[in-house]
Amino acid sequence: MYPSRFAYDAPSSLEEAIAILDAGGGEAKILAGGQSLIPMLKLRFAAPERLVDINSLPGLDYHRVDPDGTLRIGALCRHEDLEFSDKLDAFPTLAQAAALVADPIVRTRGTFVGSVCHADPQGDWAATMIALDGSIVAQGPNGRREIPMSDFVLGPFVNALAYNEIAVEAVIPAAKGTARGGYLKLERRVGDFATASVAVALDMDGDTVRRAGCALAGVGGRTIDANDAISVLVGKTLTDENIAAAAQAVAAAAEPRTDHRGSADYKRHIVETFVSRILTNISRSEQKAA
């Protein structure tokens, strides 16, 4: 497993990193946790001329909740930081996903932002970001801009960043009302990518759903945005009938293909089962709380 020749930089400031990217004219690539990029280099699926290692950039390893409840995740926040975080009480979807991304070894190095940038159709974090209506803050030579998730992932492994931009932060808005949600993933083994996974995020007003978000990984050529599908729940309570209707609507939005992980029908069935399980769990815990 020997990659092609590449140059390597480890800048110590964001400005320097952006300048190197800018000078690279599209031939330089950012190296964050390396958990996707390094395998691609070794398999020679990618052969960039230059790697810009951002691991020594100061002040990017945070995740914090602003006074208004907004969650901000810095570019060097690792999967593991989120797995063991005590700041995610209001973000149950993220808290549940954190322990299901990859395996413990990968989680010590891989970054949340890097995973979203990688835009793998089977990636877990991009799905949670879509369900939670998050956005990415990008910084380039001309300053900062915020890109909503709905515009960020352009296709499989393609994001909306310009070659000289760095994603510095992921932003996830606070729920309006009570945050409820869940993440379920079918994998063949720990560390496997999703055969199918489901992210659900609800903003609840008492027992009524005010906003519903949902996205799917592993069941399409890109992360599936199922926000529209699950919006059948908006203004409703989590009755068995409403849950079943939402689960069916979301399953219909999936675009699975038959492969060695299972048939398209099977994957669609898993999506439906998982949506229904997440929603049923939420409704049960609501009842318990009441």
Binding site: R5, R44, D103, P104, R189, G191, T195, H260, S263, T273
Partner: protein, 793 residues
């Protein structure tokens, strides 16, 4: 003098910590890739991207132009030295670098030797090969189609893709048994292709010294002496000028028995460049091209009386060997020891027919952690037994009790002619049933159904032939399958032991020393064990098929006894009595009737170099070659309880009980480690592991994202139990244990999952039982076969 405490000196039965772990856990193991020789070059292999194609041209000019490239080799280079093809361990031939055609995806086409591996890899990508694609054959059904393209058009007298027909047993008697039967039970299934996948891939460093004429090869091999013999034959070098060194190995599991093209090419590259040449294959290269395991289809039938007694059994197997018949197995047997199936059951008549086919897939058919095809044999057996009990309407445990060989029937001759010699089968089964709570299971199952969960229980009982083998029947390319040990006791009573086996994780450095400690009373810590260097180790057949303890381990005991016999003479001399008046206790000789007067084994060692009796040669060393009278036959009862989630097909192991009888346990901790590791591999095969191919012959499973190895995270816990029935013919009563769990384990998992869903009418789901397949079976109530239909003659 108080007698020595055997456990304290690390003798038999001591759970002594593994001495090799001292270096492994510190990262100080020395593997082939850790070895750096002065002036060493690096080799990379270019592999075929397609499964079946004629090579029209190979253009290497651009590769030669890259600075740092020293040599580019193609089939033509090899052919000029008569090395384009090499013999396999099954009397076939295998391409070293392809000349005429490529016959599987991943086949070796060219190689580049350069100053570093990066350059070599860069240069490989500059080699232009023009292929004319041919239709690929990816299973035996396609292979036998009348218009199937001929894969081995290189061979004379090979008009079809069939490799062999083979049969054993008594057809007439078996037919009679079926004619008399009340019930006949049929089972068809496929044991999918898997891969031993040792963590360390294969590799070599060839170092040819033109001045001395000596070729040294550091190599990842489980059988260095067989390799030396083969290299002597293939490369036509004199055997004394070849030294094969197998350093620390990162696992083998049968994958490191065969000879691979990379080894041969690195040797020629070193001869041509007169520099050491290192070749280390990457993980994908290992998975896509080297010896796989299994890939056998079964059609099996059992004939029974109403009361449950089995009258006869017949099996037909159809095996897929890939493009070259390169199985590593004893020469006499075309489909390994498949006929060891049903050896634990008392069955009067049996008949096995086997056919083998070429396909456009990687060659191999290695004994992946088993004696030659025994894993398939025992899986087929236990799936057939499971179905038979159901077809009869008899309880699984009761059906086995009726048919297992009883304790008083040993020695027992099986219908296929094996002689099993000892065991307490029913006792093992009963211990397992008790531990799993078999009594209450039916009630538990009922209760779980009310919760929407499906419980299942699966039993697998088996004895398997380990320790090939006696020289009457077992040889590989003509070399008899004995093994050897050489013991040299130094003046101060410390010792070095060498054997013809080759540890690759089994812990020989620990356990061999314990055998010597048991025989001589020398503390195990005073004995160093060395293996793997053909210039120093005695000739042996290496380590695979659980043969180390049954064969080399026996040689260790025998050589220790020879040493003791000489030491006794020295003791008599030192104590000034006649040899007949000398008694032995662990570590010490004393004068009969006067136990206070004695000398230790260490005293004798010193005297061997300083004070020997007149007429005796000085020194205290010897060797032993051991030709075992029979195989050893360990027994195992594995019982598994699972819970299936009907909504997803996901299944969890609630409890797994393993009862193993491997005779006397030298180091119980090492034995338990072997069982745990084997059950983990069994779980992998049952649950997630397989190599498959698409219609174009592309290998799905040539990386660890597709070829799944279970980790500590999902592997269930195992509860281990022990029964000891010493092997009557082994010098220390031991039987093989390295592979029982891999061999017997898969059926326990599968039978359990099938049991959980068979109320829907499902009889079989082929491995791996991935959730989607279990769900599909449940939903449709029909069998799931991963294989295309196979023609029945």
């Amino acid at each position: 003098m108080a007698p020595l405490d055997e456990l304290k000196i690390g003798g038999m039965g001591a759970s002594r910590r593994r001495v090799e772990d001292n270096r492994f856990i510190r990262g100080k193991g020395r593997y082939v890739d850790d070895i750096v020789l002065p002036g060493m070059l690096h080799m990379e292999v270019l592999r075929s991207p397609v499964a079946h194609a004629r090579i029209k041209s190979i253009d290497t000019s651009a590769a030669w132009e890259i600075p740092g490239v020293r040599l580019v080799l193609t089939g033509e280079t090899m052919a000029a030295r008569n090395l384009a093809w090499m013999p396999t361990l099954s009397y076939d031939t295998q391409a070293v670098l392809a000349t005429d055609k490529v016959r599987f995806q991943g086949q070796e086409v060219a190689a580049v030797v350069a100053d570093d591996p990066y350059i070599a890899k860069d240069a490989c990508s500059k080699i232009v090969v023009e292929y004319e694609q041919l239709p690929p054959i990816v299973n035996p059904v396609q292979a036998q189609a009348p218009d199937a393209p001929l894969i081995r058009d290189d061979k004379e007298n090979q008009p079809t893709n069939k490799i062999f027909d083979w049969e054993i047993g008594d057809k007439a008697a078996t037919d009679r048994a079926f004619a008399e039967a009340d019930v006949i039970s049929k089972t068809e299934l496929h044991y999918p292709r898997s891969h031993p996948s040792p963590l360390e891939p294969c590799g070599s460093i060839a170092d040819y010294d033109r001045a001395t004429g000596k070729l040294t090869v550091y190599m990842t091999t489980q059988a260095p002496h067989i390799i030396r013999a083969a290299v002597a034959m293939v490369a036509e070098l004199p055997e004394h000028m070849i030294r094969i060194v197998s350093p620390d190995l990162g696992g083998g599991f049968g994958n490191k028995v065969p000879i691979y093209p990379g080894y041969v090419v690195s040797i020629l590259a070193s001869i041509l460049t007169e520099r050491p040449v290192k070749w280390i294959e990457d993980k994908s290269g290992n998975l896509i091209s080297t010896g796989f395991g299994r890939d056998v289809y079964l059609q099996g039938e059992i004939a029974m009386r109403k009361d449950g007694k089995i009258l006869g059994m017949r099996m037909h197997t159809i095996s897929d060997h890939g493009a070259f018949y390169a199985d590593a197995q004893p020469t006499k047997f075309k489909i390994g020891l498949m006929h060891s199936a049903f050896a634990c059951y008392d069955i009067p008549a049996a008949h096995l027919t086997s056919e083998g086919w070429y396909t456009n897939k990687a060659p191999g058919g290695v004994a992946y952690r088993c004696s030659f095809r025994v894993t398939e044999a025992m899986f087929f057996q236990e799936r057939m037994i499971h179905n038979a009990a159901n077809d009869l309407g008899m309880d699984q445990a009761e059906f086995r009790r009726v048919n297992l060989v009883k304790d008083d029937m040993f020695p027992y001759r099986t219908a296929f002619g094996f002689l099993t010699d000892s065991g307490q089968y029913k006792k093992c089964l009963d211990i397992g049933l008790e531990a799993i709570g078999y009594q209450n299971f039916k009630a538990e199952q009922e209760e779980a159904r009310k919760r929407g969960k499906l419980l299942g229980i699966g039993i697998s009982t088996m004895t398997e032939p380990l320790g090939a083998g006696n020289s009457r029947e077992y040889d590989i390319i003509g070399i008899k399958m004995f093994d050897s040990a050489e013991l040299r006791v130094h003046m101060t009573g410390k010792a070095i032991l060498r054997t013809g086996a080759k540890t690759q994780g089994q812990g020989h450095e620990t356990t061999w020393a314990q055998i010597v400690a048991h025989e001589l009373g020398i503390p195990a810590d005073d004995i160093v064990v060395e293996e793997g260097d053909t210039d120093t180790a005695p000739f042996g057949m290496g380590t695979y098929a659980s043969r180390s303890t049954p064969v080399a381990g026996a040689a260790v005991a025998m050589v220790s006894r020879k040493i003791r016999a000489k030491a006794r003479k020295i003791a008599a001399h030192l104590l000034e009595v006649s040899e007949e008046d000398i008694e032995w206790e662990l570590g010490r000789f004393y004068v009969r009737g006067n136990p206070e007067r004695g000398v230790t084994i260490q005293d004798c060692a010193l005297a061997a170099y300083s004070n020997v009796p007149d007429g005796m040669e000085p020194g205290l060393e010897n060797n032993a070659y051991y030709d075992p009278p029979n195989l050893t036959w360990p027994f195992a009862a594995y019982i598994c309880k699972v819970e299936v989630d009907p909504a997803t097909g996901v299944w969890d192991v609630l409890k797994f009980v393993a009862v193993d009888d491997c005779g006397v346990r030298i180091n119980p901790m090492v034995v338990e480690g072997q069982i745990m590791g084997g059950l983990t591999e069994a779980y992998a095969m049952a649950n997630m592991q397989y190599i498959t191919f698409d219609e174009e012959g592309n290998c799905i499973g040539a990386n660890y994202m597709d070829y799944l190895l279970p980790t500590a995270w999902e592997t269930p816990g195992f509860e281990l139990h022990e029964v000891v029935t010493p092997c009557p013919h082994h010098p220390i009563g031991a039987k093989g244990i390295g592979e029982c769990a891999t061999v017997g384990g898969p059926a326990a998992f599968v039978n359990a999952v099938i049991n959980a869903i068979e109320h829907t009418g499902v009889r079989n789901v082929d491995m791996p039982l991935m959730p989607n397949r279990v769900y599909e079976a449940l939903k449709t109530g029909s069998d799931i076969s991963g294989m295309p239909p196979v023609r029945v003659d």
